[in-house]
């Protein structure tokens, strides 16, 4: 019987040769990731063990990753205290994949996992973060869960009652035009599918555009697949996955690949011509409210954000720096840059990208989630509008319900920072 890549991964993780869509399984977990919300996971984990007479020990400390990224450095005493308790728990339990607030190892969880080779093709990855879909970029079945479900994973090493999801196949062919990027592709896909179009389903990406796309771009595409409701986005592991894991993550051991069967059954197939895509923008207050940038050019913006798990990688910073080098931001527009990890930050420093961005007027902040979740480092004022390379534009997302967030690629963000209004990078040519 033919299977999609996720069916194959779940079959292996459940000790079966074949699984059907809709079948209920209890797959073994290869990696379980949390960030600061590990504070709640710990609370629920200890509650599971309460009155059992058993010592509360996680099932496998080497398969748990905890990465501080959401509120770094701590914005409040409450966060600082939660982080302190997590550090103590990490030490007690012997958790090794722990990334503290240090320039040499910090970063956004969805950047650290691939960068350190923690994720491999064929893995089952769960994370207490909805953008855990990102790791499908490396051919893993990777999905977001809540804190109590993670506590259950920490206890048993499996995810209880997982239903095998149906898969939507998205086939992308053709070469992107100038200033069109993987971000524009995924915004277009979300606009087409709608915010609930892939709810409870997986999106499997194929086609020559995807094959030729670097892991960085694949991470952007899989990261935002959740904005169409998808349980996970996935690019079946290939030569590029191996290249990334060897060159960037320094992985030395064997990297087996899991491929879907050619005659696997899909919920539906969507074909996209990448060469016909224009730069896209998701308008407030839903991510599926997507329009070509030409339709909303000229809107005044007070804040530009470049960064996040979606677009805070080296190639994103390179694009922004190349556009801003030797120029100045428009007066009245501030620009915040959040490299996705310490490693990216250091490389961007050596290559001069951060110098060029700062010289143009940008503020370079430390690696982390920054203002994307509306806690600190760049909340919006009443009536202000942000143009951001992040992943969500929900009402209140950047800390203020009386503001607006528009989502776009690094190129659109950088060109717009120069003019102070939403700008089409291909406008003049």
């Amino acid at each position: 019987m033919s299977q999609t890549v996720v069916q194959k991964i779940l079959a292996r993780a459940s000790g079966k040769a074949h699984v059907d869509v809709g079948e209920v399984l209890e797959p073994r977990v290869d990696l379980a990731m949390s960030h600061e919300n590990a504070a709640l996971v710990m609370n629920q984990f200890l509650e599971i063990y309460e009155a059992t007479g058993l010592e509360a020990k996680v099932w496998e400390p080497s398969k748990i990753a905890i990465i501080f990224d959401h509120r770094v450095p701590a914005e409040s005493k409450k966060t600082a205290t939660n982080q302190k308790k997590i550090r103590e728990f990490v030490a007690e339990q012997g958790i090794t994949k722990f990334h503290d607030i240090r320039g040499d190892e910090m970063g956004i969880c969805h950047q650290i996992l691939p960068e350190y080779g923690y994720v491999r093709p064929g893995y089952v990855v769960v994370g207490t973060d909805s953008h855990t879909t990102s790791h499908g970029a490396l051919g893993a079945f990777s999905f977001g869960i809540g804190a109590t479900e993670m506590a259950s994973v920490w206890t048993l090493g499996t995810v209880l009652n997982v239903e095998v999801p149906a898969t939507i196949k998205v086939v992308v062919n053709g070469k992107f035009r100038k200033h069109v990027a993987p971000k524009d592709l995924i915004l277009y896909v979300i606009g087409k599918l709608t915010a609930e179009g892939a709810n409870f389903k997986v999106i499997e990406y194929h086609g020559d555009t995807i094959i030729n796309m670097h892991t960085s771009g694949r991470l952007t595409v899989c990261n935002m697949s959740v904005e169409a409701g998808a349980t996970s986005g996935i690019v079946p592991g290939d030569e590029e996955t191996i290249r990334y894991l060897r060159e960037v993550a320094g992985v030395k051991d064997e990297i087996p690949l899991t491929k879907p069967d050619p005659d696997a059954q899909y919920d539906r197939v969507i074909e996209i011509d990448a060469s016909a895509l224009a730069p896209q923008v998701a308008c407030p207050h839903t991510v599926d409210n997507v329009k070509p940038v030409s339709e909303i050019e000229g809107l005044k913006i007070e804040q530009v954000v470049i960064g996040s798990c979606t677009n805070g990688r080296l190639d994103d910073l390179e694009i922004a720096a190349s556009i801003l080098k030797g120029k100045k931001l428009a007066r009245g527009t501030r620009m915040l840059v959040f490299p996705a990890s310490g490693k990216i930050y250091r490389e961007a420093m050596i290559k001069g990208y951060l110098y060029d961005l700062m010289e143009a007027g940008a503020v370079i902040a430390n690696p982390g989630c920054g203002p994307c979740l509306g806690v600190h480092q760049g909340a919006l004022g009443d009536g202000e509008r942000a143009l951001s390379t992040t992943n969500r534009n929900f009402k209140g997302r950047m800390g203020n319900p009386n503001s607006e967030v528009y989502l776009c690629s690094p190129a659109v963000a950088a060109f717009s920072a120069l003019t102070g209004v939403i700008t089409n990078p291909n406008g003049g040519n």
């Binding site: 709640l40 629920q44 809540g146 109590t148 979740l373």
Partner: protein
């Protein structure tokens, strides 16, 4: 019998249910005060205990989209609310099941604020407008977690079995 206390549109995100700026508050005993913090009339109504237990909020499609933050469920559970929606986003629905927040999938529901409704196993009866609407049942595997009283007791039972106790 339960009363509809509020109606919400489609795509109510977890940022609306429980804004990110309160995410450092994690304990289910502390999250209820921030429920719908930016919908000030609803937040006030909930915090001033003006609503009886099992009051109903009726929403459109894709309720709970966005973040996996479990506070979005514990905050509603703390007020013992029932959420009726055309459908729910996956992670939010699973979190609700795990924590015991009552969520009802009812694609055709018609109800206004103030309506009295009754939830019977497979349908919602709106006593005020006289209509009834089919409920989409949860898959059996999820129902087992609800029957066990939530994911904590369900996992504890599995843990004890594994430990041979």
């Amino acid at each position: 019998m339960a009363k509809v206390i509020y109606k919400l549109e489609d795509d109510i995100s977890t940022d609306i249910i429980y804004p990110g700026r309160y995410m450092a508050t994690v304990l289910p005993t502390e999250t209820p005060q921030y429920a719908f913090a930016d919908i000030t009339d609803l937040n006030k109504m909930l915090n001033e205990n003006q609503v009886p237990q099992h009051s109903v909020i009726v929403a459109g499609k894709n309720f709970g989209c966005g973040s996996s933050r479990e506070q979005a469920c514990s905050t509603l559970k703390g007020h013992e609310l029932t959420i009726v929606a055309r459908n729910f986003a996956r992670i939010f629905l699973q979190n609700s099941i795990n924590l015991g927040l009552q969520t009802i999938v009812c694609p055709d529901v018609e109800a206004s604020v103030g309506d009295e409704i009754e939830i019977i196993s497979d349908k919602i009866v709106n006593k005020t407008n006289g209509k009834s609407f089919e409920i989409i049942p949860l898959p059996k595997a999820r129902q087992a977690i609800i029957d066990a009283g939530g994911l904590i007791p369900y996992t504890r039972k599995r843990l004890m079995e594994k430990a041979g106790k």
